[in-house]
């Protein structure tokens, strides 16, 4: 009996897997209100979406006759691009206070900008299915450091949980300025700026004299060869630096430095960014904010306010909304709530949606972020307004494939909804 059951279930599982493969070919999502988030398309429209080979093939008002292996009737539902979470440690941390499960930060004084945590990425982390169920399809993973200004290479992953989920490597270099940068650099913000200037200058010196330096026929360099190599795309302005900085005067100083050194700049934190919004807009620098945090948590964040996102957008700044505070990784999807709160404080609804996907894709060169032909079919079908608290992701597609929305939170819920009594509780029914 047992064996039979097992065979049956294996057969069933194979059949399902086969079906899934077949179904993955073409898919039609019909009748949803779609936020394409494409330039100029600021309102949701009733559209059909045809997905072929993992890409969005067609988007039109009525694709009624399009042939598809699988059709999802989505009338009354809302479709957006999948959420792209910026600034996470997904796959690099399981439990914050369990050091063996943490690979995001190094305290190694020999490794700076060349630290590349991608090799530590664990797609089987429980955080991945949980955030996927919250509508996150892609994430930027950034390292941290306890004693370096340059923290290392950030990379992009999808949230399929498969072993090939790394999408791109070395897409940004997170750099600490402001209070954290000052602490790492020896106690003054000014020193942080000076050290970054020195690093870029040394990287350029290295580029111009690579052979001699590698042969040891040059002055001693402050950075290792690996770090100098890692700084090359940064120094060439190809890989952006994500500058963690809050205070308005610090933001101006960092922008001045980036201009002087010809660096591509993304500001992260930016509690007081609204105070210098016109300058940020003029420089074309995007800002990643924790939109729910309006507390003057430090003397660098005295100007923190709930309408930061709205004021920045109004001034013409591209805004990205990250997950909240220390939950930005485990609960990266909660950026939705923060975006909703930003709307309550004046950010246009469509811009809030863009701050969760389109703008992240633009800033880091990620495929996705709009519902448009040719883009990866990373899509979420929501039960209603995606920013609302009582709305949830009903269907999540990554590269056109429907993803499981089961995760430890739902598994634990289901076990304890009707817990078996006594000693039977630990057995699967």
């Amino acid at each position: 009996m047992k064996t039979l059951n097992r065979i049956t279930s294996i057969l069933l599982a194979s059949a399902i897997a086969l079906l899934a493969l077949v179904h993955a070919e073409t898919m039609l999502i019909k009748g949803a209100m779609v936020h394409t988030l494409s330039p100029g398309q600021d309102k949701a429209q009733r559209l059909d979406i045809l997905v072929e080979d993992g890409k969005i093939a067609r988007v039109a008002q009525d694709l009624g006759n399009a042939s598809a292996d699988w059709t999802i009737e989505a009338k009354g539902k809302v479709v957006t691009p999948g959420i792209i979470a910026p600034l996470t440690s997904l796959g690099l941390v399981e439990i914050g206070a369990a050091s063996g499960t943490n690979d995001a930060a190094v305290a190694d004084i020999t490794v700076g900008p060349s630290f590349d945590p991608v090799a530590a990425f664990n797609p089987k982390s429980t955080l991945i299915p949980f955030n996927r169920a919250g509508g996150v399809t892609t994430a930027l993973v950034t390292p941290g450091s306890s004693d370096k200004i340059f923290t290392g290479k950030s990379f992009v992953v999808n949230l399929t949980g498969s072993f090939d989920s790394v999408e791109s490597r070395n897409v940004a270099q997170l750099v600490y300025f402001g209070e954290r940068g000052s602490a790492v650099a020896g106690g003054s913000r000014a020193q942080t700026l000076a050290k970054v200037r020195d690093a870029i200058s040394e990287a350029r010196e290295y580029a111009a004299n690579r052979a001699a330096i590698r042969r040891g026929e040059w002055r001693d360099m402050a950075f290792s060869i690996n770090d100098l190599e890692a700084l090359q795309p940064v120094a060439r302005g190809e890989v952006p630096i994500i500058a963690e900085v809050h205070r308005a005067s610090d933001i101006l100083a960092v922008m001045q430095l980036a201009r002087e050194l010809n660096l591509r700049l993304v500001i992260s934190g930016g509690a007081e960014a609204w105070m210098v919004a016109p300058q940020i807009a003029a420089a074309g620098v995007p800002v990643i904010i924790d939109a729910i945090d309006n507390t003057p948590e430090s003397f660098s964040q005295l100007g923190a306010r709930s309408d930061n996102a709205a004021l920045l957008h109004k001034a013409g700044v591209k805004v990205v909304i990250a997950g909240p505070g220390f939950l930005a990784t485990h609960n990266a999807y909660l950026a939705r709530q923060s975006a909703g709160i930003a709307v309550a404080h004046g950010l246009p609804h469509v811009e809030a949606l863009r701050s969760l996907s389109t703008n992240v894709a633009d800033v880091f060169g990620i495929d996705g972020g709009t519902v448009a032909p040719g883009k990866s079919a990373d899509l979420v079908i929501w039960s209603g307004d995606p920013l609302e608290l009582t709305v949830f992701a009903e269907t999540v597609l990554i590269d056109g494939k429907q993803q499981s929305l089961v995760n430890r939170s739902t598994r634990l819920r289901d076990r304890f909804l009707k817990p078996k009594q006594g000693h039977e509780f630990g057995y699967k029914f």
Binding site: E94, I95, G96, A97, A98, T126, L127, I292, D293, N294, T295, P296, E297, S298, F299, Q301, L302, G303, A304, R305, P324, G325, F326, L327, H330, N331, L334, Q337, G340, I341, V343, A344, L387, E388, L389, T390, V391, F392, R408, S409, T410, L412, R413, F416, L417, P419
Partner: protein, 465 residues
């Protein structure tokens, strides 16, 4: 709530003065372990203008959602609930058509004032990390009343909050319940006659803090030994005072601040607020409470409360939970978003809490997410029920449910007018009344408090933001 101590204290003082005796004699009164006369509340908010809120959707937190309903706030109390209510000429009349009204938001777990903003080296006043039992410390003595975060919490509808010591110790000290009003001193904010709380902590924090110093406790079993040893001492202390007060012993015991707080728990005056994540640890703590014949009011950060929901119901212990926080430590790994709903549906007292200066501003939203998780689990939990998770059940946890936490005639007029459903992300608290007084008005800058800290700090001539 049985509270003889205030009267007893006042009486003793009067008699002492009149008789010029001042001689200590057995009182035949229970010992005053709470010590309400030390640092007494000077809270003095007085409603002078009647308030009539018209045509609101009212979530009473007693299980009802009333449509197009009026509320009359008078003399600090909810005077009338009904339709077509009238008020005098001088009353403040608010047209709340399309608005929603709930009781004031209550947060049972806050560190505002003892971990204030900005967070700097010298402002870390929430954890007396010097001994596993610091029952002698009182959180109110750390409260910096000018923490700018009180006003932020008010703009999120918070009218009452408990400030607790941190969780480094097995016994962290006394918590204090405040009304969210500006005050020069913490006494101005103290919720009149609210019982004191005793902060206890299970699990990782105490064992890590002390174990890493090579002192007890270093394990979870060490934690439990620490609680039991302390309760044995507290029992003996209480017994000595009881014997003395009954005249059975003529030796007046020496006061001990630490044991006084614990004895207050044994006497049923002080409520235990127990930081405890894990189901098994909650089960152990409920047995510790039985062993020493006291009650745990509430498990805080009860991430695994859903695993022991039936036990919590049976023992009548509240659980204060987050909607979805998890994973920052091992004991927070087994999170389910349906936690609050499962606990609630098991018939136990379930509530939200923040432990966060950001979260405290959005407790209604946290409840909205928890309500959704409950609905997705198959429970019928409408807003009129879920609202209790940020109001009445929090009041129960603090032992003030007879005074505030619901919209019922005769209760304190602690009321929030929301721009829409409090379960929408777009909704903001528009007006917040505490004891009938308009303490916050989103549309009137003059009715938005600013702490001393906020003045002239980013703008010499203005306020912080």
């Amino acid at each position: 709530m049985f509270r003889p101590s205030r009267i007893a204290g006042a009486l003793a003082l009067t008699l002492g003065l009149a008789g010029c005796g001042g001689e200590d004699k057995p009182t035949n009164e229970p010992q005053d372990f709470s010590r309400f006369d030390a640092f007494p509340s000077t809270y003095s908010l007085q409603q002078e203008q009647d308030v009539l809120i018209r045509s609101a959707t009212v979530l009473t937190a007693t299980g009802e959602q009333l449509q197009e309903t009026d509320l009359l706030l008078k003399d600090g109390k909810i005077a009338k609930i009904g339709k077509g209510l009238k008020a005098g000429d001088k009353a403040l009349v608010i047209d709340a058509q399309g608005k929603w009204v709930t009781p004031g938001v209550i947060d049972v777990h806050s560190h505002l004032g003892n971990y204030p903003a900005p967070s700097i080296e010298s402002s870390q006043d929430g954890n007396e990390i010097t001994s596993p039992n610091t029952g002698q410390v009182w959180a109110e003595h750390s409260v910096w009343t000018q923490d700018p975060q009180f006003a932020l919490a008010l703009s999120g509808g918070v009218t009452t909050l408990q400030i607790l010591p941190g969780s480094a110790n097995l016994f962290g000290g006394r918590g204090v319940t405040l009304k969210n009003v500006p005050g020069r001193r913490v006494q101005d904010m103290k919720f009149p006659d609210a019982p004191y709380g005793l902060k206890m902590a299970c699990g990782e924090n105490p064992k890590r803090v002390y174990g890493s110093k090579g002192t007890a406790p270093g394990t979870r079993m060490g934690n439990v030994a620490g609680y039991r040893q302390a309760w044995i001492q507290a029992e003996a202390y209480k017994k000595k005072w009881d014997a003395y007060n009954k005249g059975e012993s003529s030796d007046k015991p020496d006061r001990d601040l630490k044991l006084e707080t614990l004895a207050g728990v044994l006497a049923g005056e002080i409520l235990v607020h127990n930081h405890c994540y894990r189901g098994e640890e909650m089960a152990i703590m409920m047995d510790v409470a039985k062993e020493f014949d006291f009650k745990v009011s509430t498990f805080h950060h009860a991430v695994e409360a859903y695993k022991v929901a039936d036990l919590l119901a049976e023992n009548q212990v509240c659980s204060a939970m987050w909607a979805d926080w998890w994973g920052f430590k091992h004991e927070a790994f087994d999170m389910t978003e349906a936690n609050i709903a499962i606990v609630d549906q098991a018939g136990a007292c379930a509530l939200i809490h923040s432990d966060s200066s950001v979260g405290i501003q959005h407790l209604n939203q946290e409840v909205a997410k928890a309500m959704l998780a409950g609905q997705r689990a198959g429970f019928d939990i409408p807003p009129r029920e879920a609202v209790k998770w940020f109001t009445l059940n929090a009041a129960k946890s603090l032992g003030i449910e007879d005074k505030t936490g619901s919209i019922e005639e005769g209760k304190m007029a602690d009321v929030v007018i929301w721009s829409g459903s409090p379960f929408s992300v777009y909704t903001l608290a528009e007006q917040v009344f505490i004891d009938g007084v308009l303490m916050y008005d989103r549309k009137d800058e003059k009715r938005q408090p600013h702490s001393d800290f906020d003045l002239g700090i980013l703008d010499a001539e203005g306020e912080r933001v």
